[in-house]
Symmetry: C2
Subunit: 479 residues, 2 copies
């Protein structure tokens, strides 16, 4: 492990944190503080020079007028004050031996030339003290294992997902969207303007981090393209990137958001393609692809079987597979014969895509039998299943996976987390046997078994395509 | 109004229905029957020749061994039996003076050559009696105004949406998906193999139907391309089409689904473009575009203002606008000055896209002020708003619309219908003030006011693009 890894790893293993910008009247500093409290972080101190009385507490946490008065080592500082106070805070932190400072405060390079100068000054001070900076204009770190956090009520459970985001709000939203799908994080990093530690540093870190199994990123621009290329070439984990600023309008917006230069979209496209980086275009796609790579199942061929109760989506799913460079599997005669025993004679189809007909809505055993027969077919490498909504039949699929171990992507017409309150009594009685409350755990279990859930057939097909590519791209073949 | 219109309109105004295929042990016929019961359709009769006793009822509906024994006029028959009985039923219906038969039964043209022949025979018999056929292999009609239905528990409320679907299951799924968004139907038609009445007939009908304000379609193929072109040229209502079978694999699947020939995708593309047909690729996009055209607001220019609390999605939304041929509006100096009074100095952006910063999460008035200032700006033609999730601030938008009347598309990171049970207590406390149960009504109200909700920024931008095109495409300019 190199020095960047251990430096960042040290920050993630901070044992004490000092938060600047917490006040009696509340505000964003207090929100950040609540995040640490919710994660039960071991040693939290508030530093507020305007509070000079002793023994003051805010939200149950002791307040000190400066670091010196704490009298104990402080590993990490969080700075959430007006930007004009940041310089003095950085100096104080450097003098006190703080290892790193997360600068939540904004108003630097993304603002104007003066802001850029001020940011450079901060960097010089930090370097003098061999202290690392994260931000400015960022949320910092969330790491449930060690208790770091950037927002209240994030899950305390750890998971395989490492996330790097230039945008703080996306780190937040992804935290909550992931919660709904039962997806948990090893680390989530919002790094903002990146005057010191930046995208490449964190990518390198997560590439080596044993707790991180897959890496997802929201990116506006990177500073050192060559290093980025070397990293994606080297890292042997799935990398999913939501790269924005791909049009002039987007690039301009990125400029005023985090002061980023986005670069030529075509160049990015080539690099992503060449090194097997999976590209997504919005949060929904990001959630879709993350699920597919929580525990992807190795696959050597691209022959997909489509199973659908609804016949219409079966046709659309066939289109989606072909558009994603997948092949429709030709079922063995044996499988077809087996299917004939269960599938209704009319309004159905035994050839791929397998259309179970309306009957499947009322006869759950039909689905179970079809899953098993098709899943076991040696001509089938992967399955795309279209469901109206998730039913308890997911259990059959998980059980079947123990035996067949093939990538499965489910497209669901109606999101499983939708409240049953929104439905009429009939639908509640006929379809939803799964309470929304239980859905995150169920999706998590499916993901662990190589089954992912998608909002439409195109994303389900894209997920299967990406899994196939991941295991069959020569640049990434040594997994 | 021509004869096709009045023929189909007569069917929609049927006053009595006879259902074949209902049995004591249950099955799909009983499901169809329940649909009619739930809609409180006036005169329902069950015909089952195996039940010869008198005064028998199934599910509270009287059973007759044949039409003759009913002794009252029957306008419409629904045939849900094994295909081998269909011919005799058609003959009986013709002789009794039934106006139309919905053939739910499958096993005809989509099955094999023999099936095709059998279907032709049915058509000849029907023509002899001047009776119209819908199907085979279809669900038939849903029309809450007159009580026709094809599935239990569909809403009894009428709405502006006319839907035509080759696939029965998609008509069903759309019925329930629309329910979740508070969208209601004038008529929904599933026409299957279309041996008699087909896509063009229903398109022509809905084009003239005063209860239908917009037309959405799921289509595998049409039989008379020229007539289709003439219709889309003529019809002065928004038309949204989900055309499948666009790849060889999809075309093959469509063939075995409804016996359709899909035709060259490029030709379709040209026709759709030329005549302003809006194309969608899955159910999710369909729901997105329908919402945008429930009550689209006329617009002459394509200058969009993006408002986002989260900064990251603001950048991605700017990309999405540019990719959809929209322009980012340049706010007036006045608006910028006004915004400066409310928007936090740091971590935000006053130039379009307007980034309200993390502060907006905790300060709802910030959003309200920004909506008003930006919405009133004369340089702004349309608004794209990115929200983490729907909050009661939607009321401000509806109120603002009375004054500004501009198309507004909202992209929501977390679907509003998600059960709050899936969230942690903190999110429930901080974000969700809207109960999922209330969401369908709220979305309906927004749609009525030209505000649509989308699952991602690309679909929000596509919706705005389509609204602009709809009012500015010369072929469709005379609205």
């Amino acid at each position: 492990m190199n020095s960047i890894f251990s430096e960042i790893d040290d920050i993630f293993h901070s044992n004490s944190v000092a938060i600047y910008g917490v006040s009696r009247r509340g505000g964003l500093g207090n929100v950040l503080l609540q995040g640490f409290i919710d994660q039960d972080f071991p040693n939290i101190f508030i530093v507020n020079p305007t509070i000079t009385e002793s023994n003051v507490e805010i939200m149950g946490i002791p307040v000190y007028s400066d670091l010196e008065s704490i009298g104990e080592p402080v590993d990490l500082a969080i700075c959430s004050t007006h930007p004009k106070y940041v310089k003095d805070i950085i100096i104080e932190c450097g003098q006190y031996g703080v290892k790193a400072v997360v600068i939540f405060s904004a108003g630097f390079g993304e603002k104007d030339e003066e802001g850029k100068k001020a940011a450079n000054e901060l960097l010089k001070i930090a370097q003098k003290y061999q202290m690392r900076l994260i931000g400015p204009n960022c949320m910092g770190f969330y790491c449930p294992k060690t208790g770091l956090s950037f927002f209240p009520a994030l899950p305390i459970e750890s998971g395989p997902l490492g996330f790097i985001s230039q945008s703080g709000s996306i780190a937040n939203i992804l935290g909550f969207s992931a919660m709904l799908k039962g997806i948990h994080f090893s680390k989530s990093i919002s790094y903002g303007n990146a005057i010191d530690l930046g995208f490449n540093d964190f990518l390198e870190y997560l590439g080596d981090d044993p707790d991180t199994k897959l890496i997802a990123c929201y990116m506006e621009g990177v500073k050192d393209g060559r290093r980025f290329i070397n990293l994606v070439k080297k890292i042997k984990k799935p990398i999913i990137i939501w790269k924005v600023g791909v049009t002039p309008a987007g690039e301009k917006a990125a400029q005023s958001h985090t002061g980023s230069l986005c670069g030529d979209n075509k160049l990015w496209e080539i690099v992503f393609d060449q090194y097997g980086v999976m590209r997504v275009y919005n949060l929904e796609e990001m959630m879709s692809m993350i699920q597919a790579f929580i525990n992807p199942i190795p696959v050597q061929n691209r022959r997909v079987a489509i199973i659908s109760g609804p016949g219409g989506p079966a046709v659309s799913s066939a289109d989606a597979c072909e558009m994603n460079d997948l092949k429709l599997a030709e079922l063995t005669d044996e499988s077809k014969k087996e299917l004939q025993k269960f599938i209704p004679e009319f309004g159905s189809s035994m050839s791929n895509p397998i259309d179970l007909s309306l009957q499947s809505t009322f006869d759950p055993i039909l689905e179970k039998n079809a899953f098993e027969i098709v899943g076991r077919d040696p001509n089938v490498d992967m399955m795309l299943i279209y469901l109206t909504m998730l039913t308890p039949r997911y259990k059959d699929l998980i059980k079947l996976q123990e035996e067949i171990s093939k990538p499965i992507a489910i497209a669901c017409a109606i999101d499983s987390t939708v409240s049953s309150d929104c439905f009429s009594k009939y639908i509640k009685r006929s379809f939803i046997h799964i309470r929304a409350k239980k859905v995150p755990k169920i999706i998590n279990k499916m993901n662990q078994n190589g089954i992912s859930m998608h909002p439409n057939e195109q994303l389900a097909a894209k997920a299967l395509h990406n899994i196939f590519q991941y295991y069959n791209n020569s640049k990434k073949s040594n997994f």
